[in-house]
């Protein structure tokens, strides 16, 4: 791994994506990406007796699919890195405990999958181990309970509100043997532009996204059109416009390649989700269901995946604090082409 610029690294021997898996619930399966998810669990309780256990089960199921595809067991893992939205990250701890794998819990709110990927890739690249798992998940019902009001409480949402995705994604990263690769990454800096409205995550997170994208492009020396796609995690429709506007002011135009996982996962017209989807499971499941398969099949060659997170808690909101936000960027590439002379030549762009 080589430092390109503060916050941005290039992986000289890019860690590979060995396998991935995702599980979502019914509402997500009825969205535009419905047919792409590996597993649809229609029962929101996933056979459990509370929302928190259900959330763990979604993440455990995604991990299970991932490990089965790689043909390995939890005991074959050198490490697991993951997180979620619940207090003390319990959804992930409970999902992972039975794997008996060395575990690092991380919290990056809805950016967690990107944080997990970067950490796992750095661990593999640094020689910590051969196989490290990265995962993240969320559940609409447990998130509502923790961050808003009880589920059956009758209220209306403003148009800027977003809908937490019930689902999870897991990615297995290893030294060799995969198709897609992680070639570079930028660890985001916290950006707080003073937005206090917890029902306006897109507005709060857009500056963090713009900051990280600009930093990454500068770091690797690339232009937006060098990518087949640039993904944001869950900016939602308002956040997309704001982020593009902020980047335009820095003379960076991503509009032709920009996609947002939160905007894609639901049909906003028919599914009553207002500005779009959100939650750790949003970026994680779209990554596994859509982004990685497009890279593995060769339809895309180079993608920048930048998940965004709002680092608030119900307490900070009630205490009138603004919302600090973060975005981490992971640069992904498809299978290495045989013509490619060395890995060190391929970062220029």
């Amino acid at each position: 791994m080589e430092k390109l610029r503060r916050g941005t690294v290039k992986f000289t021997a890019p860690p590979q994506i060995l396998a991935h898996g995702c599980t979502v619930s019914k509402k997500e399966s009825q969205g535009p990406l419905g047919s792409l998810f590996d597993q649809v669990q229609e029962d929101e309780y996933f056979g459990q007796d509370n929302w928190e256990k259900a959330e763990s089960q979604f993440q455990a199921a995604a991990i299970n699919i991932c490990l089965n595809r790689a043909g390995i067991k939890g005991s074959d893992l050198d490490g697991a890195v993951g997180g979620d939205l619940l207090n003390q990250c319990t959804a992930t701890s409970f999902a992972i405990k039975d794997l008996k794998a060395p575990f690092l819990g991380v919290y990056g709110a809805c950016s967690t999958i990107a944080e997990s990927l970067i950490t796992a890739a750095a661990l593999v690249d640094g020689g910590y181990g051969e196989r490290v798992l990265a995962s993240a998940g969320s559940h609409f019902c447990s998130a509502e309970k923790q961050f808003r009001t009880p589920l059956e409480y009758g209220s209306q949402r403003p148009p800027s509100a977003q809908w937490t995705v019930t689902g999870a994604g897991a990615v297995l990263i290893g030294k060799t043997g995969g198709k897609a690769r992680i070639t570079a990454a930028t660890v985001g800096t916290i950006v707080d532009m003073g937005i206090k409205d917890a029902n306006h995550m897109g507005g709060a997170m857009a500056p963090a996204f713009a900051d990280t994208i600009a930093a990454h492009l500068r770091g690797v020396g690339a232009r937006p059109i060098d990518y087949d796609a640039i993904f944001s995690g869950d900016l939602g429709v308002i956040g997309i416009d704001l982020a593009q506007e902020l980047l335009r002011r820095e003379e960076i135009d991503i509009s032709s390649v920009h996609h947002d996982c939160g905007e894609m996962i639901f049909d906003r017209k028919s599914q009553d989700v207002h500005a779009g989807g959100s939650g750790c499971g949003c970026a994680a499941s779209v990554l596994c269901a859509h982004v990685l398969p497009m890279l593995e099949s060769g339809q895309w060659k180079r993608v920048l995946f930048c998940a965004t997170g709002a680092l608030l808690s119900p307490t900070t909101v009630l205490q009138g604090e603004s919302i600090p936000c973060i975005a981490h960027a992971v640069e992904l590439r498809g299978p290495a082409e045989p013509a490619e002379p060395t890995e060190s030549n391929e970062q220029a762009g």
Partner: protein, 144 residues
């Protein structure tokens, strides 16, 4: 860009809630609930209750209906459409007590249901009681 400039930009890109249609929906559903209440009052009067008892029975009936609909998962759907139309009448109060009671059942009957049942309605009770004390003092001092 300063925070103020960004805040303006956000406002520029953000659509507000559709105020007029929200008001109309609230008026219609809220009005329907009140009409139902009035209908029930006449029914109880017809069945022989006096005026005070009939009023109490109406409150009890609406609270029960809202609780039942909350438990069946229907109330939240109506409220998402009606907004203040379901929130302002006594139905909203019922929903705000029943919904946390359901939600926190998994945390035990004492520490969950018991402790968290009034997590939404608590402030209404606290400040409603406080306001009535102040009103009582004003009445005692000046209007008696």
């Amino acid at each position: 860009m300063t925070n103020q400039e960004y805040s303006k930009l956000v406002d520029q890109y953000t659509k507000n809630s559709p105020l007029w249609s929200d008001c109309l929906k609230a008026f219609l559903v809220g009005g329907l609930i009140c009409t139902l209440g009035e209908g029930l009052r006449h029914l109880y009067l017809y069945l022989g209750a006096d005026k005070t008892a009939a009023g109490s029975w109406v409150s009890i009936s609406l609270i029960f209906l809202a609780a039942l609909l909350t438990a069946l998962g229907v109330f939240e759907k109506i409220a998402r459409f009606a907004g203040a139309g379901t929130l302002v009448p006594i139905t909203g109060f019922s929903n705000s007590v029943i919904s946390p009671a359901m939600e926190y059942k998994t945390e035990g009957f004492v520490t969950g249901v018991g402790a968290k049942m009034f997590i939404v309605a608590g402030p209404v009770i606290v400040y409603g009681t406080a306001a009535s004390i102040i009103a009582g003092i004003i009445y005692y001092l000046f209007l008696r």
